[in-house]
Symmetry: C2
Subunit: 239 residues, 2 copies
């Protein structure tokens, strides 16, 4: 994998396979955008004039029903990609969960570049397939896991992704910040915020996690946390 110079994080997301020339082109059509926590990035139905990758912070994709029920359908951490070449309208609400910086590429030139760059296109396909896999993992969680297992799964996911950002494996005793409010976790998991709060309290009481303040989580024994998720614990990553 190449180091992409002035734009390391987001270029890793979209062009880890592309050549120097394409990097230069990408550099020419990119621009940065920042959002405050809670600020909407896109509403469902908006015209999307850019695709983007997350540089810093967290964004969520969510679907809402008319009566206010909402379900988060995507959680975008640094290096994740927003947008869909070939589509014009945003299919979901995109909201900045924390302060957020995006590296945006104007859609038209990006698509043109993609059409000329097989590696970029196949990288996009690969990323989309990864997203599809994680969506399907998520479906198992929503459809079949108990509240208990849902919370444990979410904590395990966050701990893993947090460690991955530092290029580490999740380790016993590792600490990370909960980037989501109880309500956002509830929307992620298909629960109410009260249930989320209760389950977190229960995990704390049973010593599976420790809380430093309300947001910092310490996982003394990562394998034990995994044991609470209901997942196949030794299940190797399937590529």
């Amino acid at each position: 994998m190449k180091d992409c110079g002035t734009c390391p994080i987001q270029h890793r997301a979209v062009c880890s396979y592309c050549d120097a020339d394409e990097l230069v082109e990408l550099d020419q059509i990119k621009y940065y955008r920042s959002y405050d926590a809670g600020q909407p990035v896109l509403w469902a139905g908006d015209h999307m004039e850019f695709v983007a990758s997350v540089v810093e912070g967290i964004a969520s994709l969510a679907q809402a029903m008319e009566d206010g029920r909402t379900q988060m359908v995507g959680l975008l951490l640094p290096s994740d990609f927003i947008g869909r070449p070939g589509r014009d309208l945003a299919p979901y609400n995109v909201v900045a969960v924390t302060n957020l910086t995006l590296c945006c590429f104007r859609k038209k030139p990006f698509e043109e570049l993609m059409a000329r760059t097989p590696h970029l296109a196949s990288r996009l396909l690969e990323m989309t397939l990864d997203e599809l896999d994680s969506a399907r993992e998520w479906m198992l969680l929503l459809g079949r896991k108990t509240a208990h297992e849902k919370i444990s799964s979410l904590l395990a996911i966050l701990a893993t992704r947090d460690a991955a950002l530092r290029k580490q494996k999740p380790a016993d005793g590792a600490a990370f910040d909960l980037p989501l409010t109880r309500e956002a976790m509830a929307d992620y998991l298909g629960l109410t915020l009260e249930t989320v709060s209760r389950q977190i309290s229960s995990l704390k009481k049973r010593g599976v996690i420790e809380l430093k303040g309300k947001r910092r989580v310490v996982v003394p024994d990562f394998a034990r946390l995994l044991g609470e998720t209901g997942d196949d614990v030794d299940g190797g990553m399937i590529s």
Copy 2:
């Protein structure tokens, strides 16, 4: 869209944008396979030596937990695509729900063809994005809808797809066959088969649907069925 001659249905799925030359190449690497209802096509973790499109019948993708809980994560109707270029191992169990005929393409040559055929690659990306969208729609269903809304949504989806196979819009009074057992519907919806059965009985009692035998469904008023789904009824398709 081209008519693909000897192989109309499945070619429409994978190569509606490709040229005659590519059609010929696809023809050379294809072969058919049939499965009986209930028969497994692939187990999670199997090596996949082919990609395929569904010619006739229905297949399901499902994830299973160790204790037997299972969640369907994909329902493949004629013209849907199975397999992922670039991946070696099947990520889910694939099972023939009804008698099933696949048109298979050996994976290696298919991938080589794809690498040389931008249109084929971008068509694949488009199809994958569609799948991602429907997975996310499904997540809303699993996370936030009531049993009642879930059943109605499933019936609406099946009615719509059934009509689409005949190139029609779902019409009032249209009838279609329920291709799934109560248990398969339960796995689709994240419910138990008893709840599925009760909800169907309730819809029947209230006159939203009629049952001819156990499998044939008549929808006298399609808009009324849609009204039971909890979905934004006038919500246009977002592309």
